[in-house]
């Protein structure tokens, strides 16, 4: 923010903090194509210029795709679900499909994870909206000779949050699935959830407003 010269607003108080909040950030070690954050500013700036300035200030690979003026309502409220893709190298798609079927058939799959509050046990099944085994990806990231199963996952935003690794733990619990190689996880989208189970870009609501303003 400072490198880009963004006039960030600061909280009041003895140790002022910049007003920046992240909505449901991806866990460490997970790639993402869809992260969102909200920034409070001291003065209005042109969203397109802000995007360009921030993008230029960030390391390659961290790209700022769009900036819109918030028209009201918190960003966090618009993050209802997240779409993940999990690549499981050296896992046979048929084996994965069987594990997924067992997982889906269950009403509840209890898993454990260390959280900041200590070890917690929670249900990894309830929050899963869709879980599909898909064919090989359009651009495989591992050499084609290695078999690779791919899981497409849409998970509802709940507390405690159910992350891709929790679903993988769930597959281990119900079907003994043990990926031999560390899986590669990428978040493809997150946002509001339609009745049909589709994810809508959380910035869409603001974008409508911006269009009226003649952007």
């Amino acid at each position: 923010m400072r490198r880009a010269g963004v006039p960030v607003a600061f909280s009041q108080g003895f140790t002022p903090h910049p007003k920046i909040s992240y909505a449901s950030a991806a866990p460490t070690g997970v790639a993402s194509e869809a992260e969102y954050l909200e920034v409070g500013l001291r003065e209005p700036v042109d969203p397109a210029a802000l995007r360009a300035a921030l993008d230029a200030a960030l390391s390659p690979g961290l790209d700022v795709l769009d900036v819109v003026v918030a028209s009201g309502g918190g960003l966090a409220d618009r993050i209802e679900a997240s779409h993940w893709r999990i690549e499981l190298p050296e896992v046979d798609p048929a084996v994965l499909a069987a594990a997924v079927a067992t997982f889906t058939a269950a009403d509840e799959v209890m898993v454990e994870r260390m959280t900041k509050q200590g070890r917690r046990t929670f249900d990894a099944r309830g929050a899963v909206i869709t879980i599909d085994v898909s064919g090989p990806p359009v651009t495989p990231s591992v050499a084609p000779a290695v078999p690779c199963a791919i899981l497409e996952l849409v998970v509802r935003q709940v507390t405690p949050s159910v992350r891709p690794d929790d679903v993988l733990s769930g597959l281990r619990v119900v079907a003994g699935l043990e990926p031999p190689v560390a899986p590669k996880v990428i978040r493809l989208a997150q946002g509001t959830l339609t009745a049909q189970g589709a994810i809508v870009d959380p910035l869409d609501a603001d974008r409508d407003g911006a269009t009226i303003g003649g952007r």
Binding site: A53, A57, S59, V181
Partner: protein, 661 residues
């Protein structure tokens, strides 16, 4: 052939990234291994003629902010045909996986194997990084012993303060550089470049010989150490023609000509310091007798107020940091520190940029400085270092500050809004008694009492922090005996009781200390000779890693290794630590020239014992420590009378050139 990878950055031909990437999800804080920091440089391997891997032998979070490595990294990468990359110590979890999967020690910039480089420069601010050096060499696939290396291995060069006595690691490094590195790395680069251009005549041996002939690169293998029957050193002599009897330290004069770092590294992971640090001067002639840094970096060379201002402006703009550290060994001693602080505070008023001085002497601190530092609302921590509890011991160590000065200064801080100050002391100093240490409690009590009286508030605190004294080479205390850990621990216990003897005052005083045991091992390493190398190796083989971290350091492991290894040489741990040396004993570093005259050091040691204080040569006549004539250097101080150049405040978004809106 490398496997395609999902990393967005281009993968270098010799990169180990494809093998490394799949290990990262299994380790703690994987982001420390990915590189890609702002300020990082990745160059074309084949286009470079001389390639350096630079290491700070500690975890990334400690190593990344290190100024020395950042400076050398930038100086080297500015040369078109030179490539420099960085590597840090990997944590044991990754080390284990790297061994299991055959992934070698790698650089974070382009993830290239360290063994592929021509030179492997390692920066030792402290001796506690020695075991991490062995891990890195071994993981790199390079033979641990310099003697076993071939032309296919990089030349391992040690630098930094600990390199002023590299004897304990003499078996493991090929060379060591004493003193400032800016010009030294350029000179070494030039020698390697020329030797390679000639087709590497004579191989590794010839290259090392050429380095040694500069008289400022120490190549341990060209010196033989003979011992007396009682274990002391008889002599250290060159075993090759043309190799100098003594190797001299390097001094970078005119710091304005070397305004580095210009492009500070900005990490993606959390590190110990996230600030733009500028050295405002090098060297210190206050003459604290325990302080190796002060002794080996003489004379004082100031960076001018205008250069500092310019570096701060450019550094902040480049990095986006909001804290500026004005570094040096005693920052308040800069001849224009007042103008510098007020000028910077003014320029950055209302911007959330804060200033900090890491080392503030009690006597130079004043109200103005305190106010300038707090101008932007944030009060960074204040630390004062009286070092000794009693007036007497402060005379012994030549820390010329009176109790009244201290109390006055701390009260100034309290009345200027600071609620908390830290007081730093040492325990185990030469001639120290229980009483000297107990006076720390009295001093802390008085600080709180005076603070309460001056502010009318009970809401003030101080923290008493105690470090163990470690005698260092090239200081007047290089002959001193160390106190036993039991004695130190007993004194620290007495002190704690004394602080808490008054409950009300005791509650306002925090107490932090290091046990005596780690200091004893630091003592072994700092004044050790080549025989200590076997102890380091044994400790490392038994799992010793990250000795600077209390949760990893094992005193017992060091004691056991010393007990196993040293008797074969007729010496033991005590011989290196608690034994006082005599004037004529040949010290392991006598052939390494820091410029200090050994006779002067001995005289200063005697003065210390008679509690005679030595003034500062910046303000009183030269007292002939020997450095300036020996090194052909001189004191470079202001005031220059110049002011900070006015800044045009940069407002608004910074758009990339040619940005599409």
């Amino acid at each position: 052939m490398s496997v395609p990878s999902t990393t967005p950055r281009p993968v270098a031909a010799n990169s180990v990234w494809p093998q490394l990437e799949s290990l990262l999800p299994q380790v703690t804080k994987p982001i420390q291994y990915v590189g890609g920091e702002l300020g990082a440089v990745v160059k074309d391997w084949d286009a470079a003629t001389v390639r350096w891997a630079l290491m700070y032998p500690d975890a990334y979070e400690v190593g990344l902010p290190n100024q020395g490595v950042q400076i050398l990294y930038e100086v080297l990468n500015e040369l078109p045909d030179v490539l420099a990359e960085r590597t840090y110590a990997v944590w044991p979890d990754l080390e284990k996986l790297m061994r299991a999967h055959g992934v070698p020690q790698f650089t974070v910039d382009a993830h290239r194997p360290v063994r592929d480089f021509d030179l492997f420069g390692v920066s030792f601010a402290t001796e506690l990084g020695y075991t991490n050096l062995l891990t890195a060499i071994d993981l790199a696939g390079v033979p641990l012993l310099a003697a076993d290396r071939t032309d296919a291995d990089p030349v391992i060069v040690a630098g930094g303060h600990a390199a002023f006595n590299p004897e304990p690691i003499a078996d493991f490094v090929d060379a060591a550089v004493l003193g400032d590195g800016e010009e030294a790395v350029l000179e070494i680069t030039a020698i390697v470049r020329e030797w390679k251009a000639e087709g590497c005549p004579g191989g590794r041996d010839e290259l090392l010989l050429r380095l040694a002939r500069t008289e400022s690169v120490y190549v341990p293998r060209f010196y033989d150490v003979d011992y007396l029957p009682d274990g002391r050193i008889q002599r250290v002599v060159p075993n090759r023609a043309d190799v100098p009897f003594r190797v001299h330290k390097r001094t970078t004069m005119d710091l304005d000509a070397w305004p580095y770092p210009k492009k500070p590294l900005v990490p993606l992971a959390e590190t110990v310091h996230e600030r733009y640090a500028v050295e405002i001067f090098r060297g210190c002639t206050r003459g604290c007798r325990f302080c190796q840094a002060g002794m080996i970096t003489r004379p004082v060379r100031e960076r001018s107020i205008t250069t500092v201002g310019q570096m701060v402006q450019q550094g902040l703009e480049f990095s986006g940091f909001h804290e500026v550290g004005l570094l040096s060994l005693s920052s308040a001693d800069h001849s224009e520190i007042g103008d510098m602080c007020s000028g910077l505070a003014e320029q950055y008023q209302g911007t959330n940029v804060s200033l900090s001085l890491p080392s503030t002497r009690v006597d130079a601190f004043n109200i103005d400085l305190a106010q300038e530092l707090s101008r932007n609302g944030r009060r960074t921590g204040l630390t004062f270092a009286p070092e000794g509890g009693s007036e007497r011991i402060r005379k012994v160590i030549n820390k010329m500050v009176s109790k009244d000065d201290l109390i006055r200064t701390v009260v100034t801080a309290y009345t200027n809004g600071w609620r908390q100050v830290k007081l730093y002391f040492m325990c185990g100093l030469p001639t120290e008694t229980d009483e000297d240490v107990l006076e720390i409690a009295a001093m802390a009590h008085e600080v709180i009492k005076a603070g309460r009286a001056a502010t009318g508030s009970k809401d003030i605190r101080c923290t008493v922090s105690i470090g163990g004294f470690v005698p260092k080479p090239h200081t007047p205390f290089q002959w001193a005996s160390m106190e036993r850990p039991e004695v130190i621990d007993h004194r620290l216990k007495l002190l704690k009781q004394a602080i808490n003897a008054d409950r009300s005052l005791g509650r306002a005083i925090g107490y932090r200390y290091h046990d005596g045991e780690p200091s004893l091992i630091e003592g072994l390493l700092s004044r050790g000779d080549r025989r200590v190398g076997a102890v380091i190796r044994r400790v490392w083989e038994n799992g010793g890693r990250f000795d600077g971290w209390s949760e990893h350091f094992s005193y017992q492991r060091w004691v056991d290794a010393a007990t196993e290894v040293l008797p074969a040489f007729g010496v033991d741990l005590d011989w290196y630590t608690t034994r006082e040396r005599e004037e004529l004993e040949v010290l392991p570093w006598d052939h390494l020239d820091s410029g200090l005259d050994k006779d002067w050091l001995w005289q200063d040691w005697q003065d210390s014992l008679s509690e005679y204080e030595q003034d500062d040569c910046r303000w009183t006549p030269c007292f002939d420590c020997g450095v300036c004539p020996a090194m052909d250097t001189e004191i470079q101080i202001g005031p220059t009378g110049r002011k900070l150049l006015p800044l045009t405040p940069v407002n608004g978004l910074k758009l990339p050139a040619g940005a599409q809106q």
